[in-house]
Symmetry: C2
Subunit: 199 residues, 2 copies
Amino acid sequence: MTEKTQAEALADAGGGRRSERSRAAILAAARERFAADGYERATIRAIAADAAIDPAMVMRYFGNKEKLFAAAAEFDLRLPDLSALPPDEAGAALINHFLNRWEDDESLKALLRASVTNPVAADRMRELFAGQLGPMIARLTDPADAGTIATRAGLVATQALGFALCRYVLELEPIAALTRTEAVAWLSPTITRYLTGTP
Amino acid sequence: MTEKTQAEALADAGGGRRSERSRAAILAAARERFAADGYERATIRAIAADAAIDPAMVMRYFGNKEKLFAAAAEFDLRLPDLSALPPDEAGAALINHFLNRWEDDESLKALLRASVTNPVAADRMRELFAGQLGPMIARLTDPADAGTIATRAGLVATQALGFALCRYVLELEPIAALTRTEAVAWLSPTITRYLTGTP
DNA sequence: TTCCCAAGTCAACACTTGTTGACCTACGGT
DNA sequence: ACCGTAGGTCAACAAGTGTTGACTTGGGAA
């Protein structure tokens, strides 16, 4: 009864496969495991167990572990357009958005944990900052300084990733205990200078 | 007991006992592999092969993989005393020292790569910044602001580790291509503010 | 009803890992 | 000379990995 409705809805949703629910369960479990354990310690068997699904199904749906990771670590920074803001508020807005994004999607944690040992993940990380942050910064930057855009994006990446590494992965105190307000207060000037300042 | 005395005596003897050479070779290979591959991808067999030594010898000398890592990732930041410098030069000096330290000892890279998935490594990383950077900052800080020392150390860690992550591990361009001078110029104001400034 | 086929299960594969214990071997003290 | 032992070799172990292929099941179409 209920199942029929689900099946129909699911059939509509995807390209025709009826097992979207299993696929979604695997993906959710994979995100969790990759985020918690990193690429090599997260095993297909553990992911399958979390999703209450046979390990063979994981292979059926995603081909192999690397493709599963690629699907689980798909991520978009969803950067807002900050060009409307006064320059001295852009830094605070950006770091705030970044922390939000970090906290409500485990994919970023999975990506960071994996990117340290997995080339594919590292590539995606690079593309995230070069391909998404760069263009956003371009809209804030005086065309005369266009040559500095990539550097600015990179510098923002160093501070943003470093903070996330210490706060969410290493759980280094007292960084992990900082309130959101404190964190933003300390980081904003740094980000702002990287966005629009000079060395 | 007896073994150590003998080993030392033999090492002192002049010829260089093979066991000490083996031990050193294993450690060097381990540092290299852990730095390049991270904890789980660096295998005892690969390390032994690099050192041209039987895998069983690695176990004989270091007990198990975790202890080998602990020995290979022993590290000291060797922080200089910056309290003699004018406050606005301390940031530049510190980041310069940090980059030097990073570049001439692979242990830090090994530690960072491993600390993302290995609890022991993460612990050592935390202790590095809390136990070594903290005390150094204390000497720069007005006793009235003693309560901010740990936070300052943590913030410096976020920027320093984030930069190292992007430059040496992720090899994110254009951060990896920055000259030392450029890097120091961009980071110094950030570090200086974390050391002595306010949000 | 019968039949088909995708979804799901099971057991095994080939391989790699850390780790162990039995076995050599060369050399310094006696 | 001998012999004990530290240093080194070899092969195997048990556990765990990603991955595969043959089998079973259930629900919708005929």
